[in-house]
Each structure stands twice: as C-alpha cells, then as structure tokens.
Amino acid sequence: MTDISVEVCGLRLRNPTMLASGVLDETARSMLAVAKSGAGAIVTKSIGIEPRSGHPNPSVVELEDGLLNAMGLPNPGIDLFSKEVKEARKGGVPIIGSVFGGTEEEIAELAGMMAEAGADAVELNLSCPHAKGYGAELGSSPERVETSCRLAKRACGVPVFAKLTPNTSYIAELAKAAERGGADAVVAINTLKGMAIDPEAGMPILGNRFGGLSGPAIKPVGIRCVYEIYESVEIPVIGVGGVTTGRDAVEYIMAGAQAVQLGTAVWIRGEKVFREVCREISQFMKENGYDSVKEMLGVAHSGRH
C-alpha cells in the first residue's frame, strides 16, 4: 500500500484520518476499538470541568445526507475522564483531548488537565453551536478565540488545536486569531447550526430545538472554510465536515488540510470507514501518481491566485 502517513504538529499519524470529537469517544474502550479499526488518531468527546448529562432526548435527527444533533456536551467531567484518556492511549495512536468551557480560563485549565491526563494534543472546542454559554458565543469572537489559545498554550506543553465554528461571516479571521494566540493548528469545521421541525408534531424535533448539522450536506462548506483558512494562516489545518470517502478526504487535503476527521461517516459506513477511506486514498494516489499525502496538500490553490 502507498505510504499515507502524515505528521501534524509533530504527531506522527499512520494515516491522515482521525475520529472527530463527539463520536464514539466517551469511553476508552470505544476509542480503543476505533483505533483498532484503523483511525490514525482519536479526538475525544469534548470534556468539561463538571459532569454533564447533556440535552434531553431526542438528541439526534437522521437526515438523508447528514445528522442533526444536540447532544449538549454530555461528559463525565475531566476528573473521571482522565482515566479514560490514559487507557485510550494504549491503542498506540495519538489521543487528542477535546475540551470545552464557558470562559477562556476554564478552557485553559481543562487543556492543562487534559495534557496531564496524557493527551498527545489538546483540541479546544470553540464551536459547539447548540450548548448555551459554550462554544458559539465565545467561538465567534476573534479576541476570545485568541485569548483561549494563548492561555491554553501556557497551561499545557502539548500541541493545541483550535476547533472553529463555520457559523460566522469570516472563519479566516477566527483562524488568524487562533494563530496569533499561539495555536499549533486549526480544525475546521464544527457543525452548522440547524433545526428540524416535524410537521405532524408541529414542533422542533430535538429536545434542545437547535442542533448542529453534520455529514455530507456540509462538506462544501467545510472545504470552503479549509481553503480560506489555508490562505490566511501558516499553521496546519485539519479538515472536518462530511468526510465519508477517500475522495472527500483528498478534496480536503487539496484544499489545504494536513489531516481529516470523520464523525458522521461512522454512522454512514460503520467503524470500518477508517480502513476503507485509507484504502480509497491510497487507491486515488496510485491512480493519480501521488507518492505521499504531502504532495497533495493544498494543490487546489496553485495557479489560481
């Protein structure tokens, strides 16, 4: 098989696919299973200071080409979760600890604790569109994004990734703010804020009414965001949003992503999706004469600007 390993912020990944935050990553055993099924790295569920049960059900709406979810950041809290991180590391792939918080200080504190728990990198979830007080408000302000990254960098010695929201006018401004704050990479995108109403019930389906749209439906938005960010910052970009096939991954890489994350694809194709997407990437590379993932990086930009 073609070599599809990549290095992102010093982390060596056997392939450019990562499990996206929030999907099958609340328990170590599940993360180990995903590592076994071929993911190059694992991002944990977003973890806060205190345990949280999340939003009332329904928390997921299945659409034909995506999901709408309002899990509401359920998590056992960083203290309990530290154990899971330690155990998950036994899978032999980098564990990227995702954290969320209501303030820049809280986020930084969590980043520190996550690093202490053994995470190989920390991903700041600055972008959950549907949990009041978390994510959206903070994540759409460049100043607060910058401060969050700066404090998080101070609080931990591992790479810090800033995960950005697409629910904004200028995602590139957020990326630049993250870079100024010292983030080692940006991750784009989180879900698009959305809603589904059931006509017969005459009400929103999700317990939280609002949710986040993910999956194939949002891929063009994710590609655009990565493309814009790649032209605006020097730090690496990690692409997420609707990656379901090897071609989708290649599209992101050509837009400028050093690696991609898969969430909804696990629903669409099962856990085997990691292995399959990697095979599809190799296949594409072979057919099109690419010897390394790096050769494909950002090629969609050349000759155009």
């Binding site: 099958l24 609340e26 055993r29 059900n57 928390s59 659409l63 059931d198 317990g207 629903w267």
Partner: protein, 262 residues
Amino acid sequence: MLTLAGIRLLSVRKNSSETASVKTVRLGGELEAVPGQFVMVWVPGKDEFPMSVSYPGSNFGITYQVLGEGTRALAEMANGKKVGIRGPYGRGFSIKGRKLLMIGGGVGMAPIAPLVDIARAKRLSVDLVIGAKTSDDLLFERRATRAGAKVHISTDDGTKGFKGFASELATELLDSAGPDHVFACGPEKMIVKIVAAASRRKIPMQASLERHMKCGIGICDSCALDGVHVCKEGPVFPLEELRKFGDLGVTKLDPAGRRVPV
C-alpha cells in the same frame, strides 16, 4: 434528498394496560422488526427513549413499563395522538435450534413474546419462563400459551408458579427440558445468572441487554459496553460475546457517561 429519513409520526390506535404498571400501545403503521430489535419512541415535547418491538408488522406495538416522565406521558396518550418512531435498530434474536428455552423477566417479556410467536409458527418446541415480582405483574402469559409454548411461571413472592427468581427456574429447565438454544431478556442480574448456567452446560444462548441510549444509531457512545455499542451491535448478543463483557452485571454509564453500578 435531505428529508427526515429517520422519524415517522404514527397515531395511537390503542393504548391499553397489561398490568398495573405496564401498558401496550399499538400504532397505526407498519414496522417490520426482528424480535429483539428496538425503536426510538418520541413523545413529542417530552422525551425519546428506546423500546423493544412487542408486536412487529402492521399495527405494530410496544409494551412499556410506566416509569418516569417519558413513559408516563406515553401512558396518557389517547387514541389519535401522534408518537414519533425511528428504527427498527440493532440486532435482534436469531432463531436457532429446535428445542428452545426462552426467559422473559418483567417487561423483558416485550421482545420475548413475538419471539415465541415466530418460533411456534415454525413449529419449534418452546419452553418459556415468564418471571415477575408477583402474579399481577406477569406479562403475555395468555399470548404465549395460545401460541403453543410450554409456559412456566415464576414469581419472586410465589403468588403464582415457581417461587423465586426466573433465573433459578430457568436453570432447572436447562437440565430438565433439555433445550438446545436459550433466549433471554430481563434484568441484567438475571441475565448474568443465566449466562453462567448456560456456559457451564455449553448450551448456546442469546440475550438482549439494556444500556442508556441517546442516539440509538451507534455514534454517541452512551450505550457503550466494553467498547461495544448495545444500540448497534446489540441489543441481542450471543453467548460468546456475553461471556466476554467485563462490565456485564457490573457497571454501566449514566447519562453523563459516568460509570455506575448496574
């Protein structure tokens, strides 16, 4: 096309009591499901929760214990009211063997009842243990008898049939009835005991498990059991897998993902 592929609103046709705390609701709609598969039931504006299909096919139904806000709201729904259904999800029971022993503890009879129906339609021999705390709580005794199962009753308080736990009566029948395959659903402690008994005797079995479920479709990790997702790889597991679960009968996750005792 992006439509609500998942959810279907169906009208309540009949919402009637089976026992003091268990009701069956029949919904105007067709839903084919293998016994053991479940649906996510949305009571609009209230909650959404997993329920085994107790009546598959047309005019399908579920049988539910009235417990908290969600099931209470469902219990109060009059005919014509709309309930949202998505599913069926997961892996159901797969009928194997010719001489079957089935055990349904409490509302665990919900998926066992249609399993009895199908096995009997295939003219297989079925020994069925129906277990409950007390005789008033016994579920689907008539339905199973009519289907032609040999029904064995077990109540914790001895108000009817065998006095004691359903798992004890089941263990006796493992020896006396000579089954070649065992099927169980009920409290996890009961299942753990039957797993042990069947293992010792090397009789293959399947059991349906319960975990807290949010998404129902294998993505949120809330129903994780040793890295396996009960909503997707389960809820029915074969003996080989049941035996390997370190957390079975020991711990489960609460809605925040904390480990709590079963």
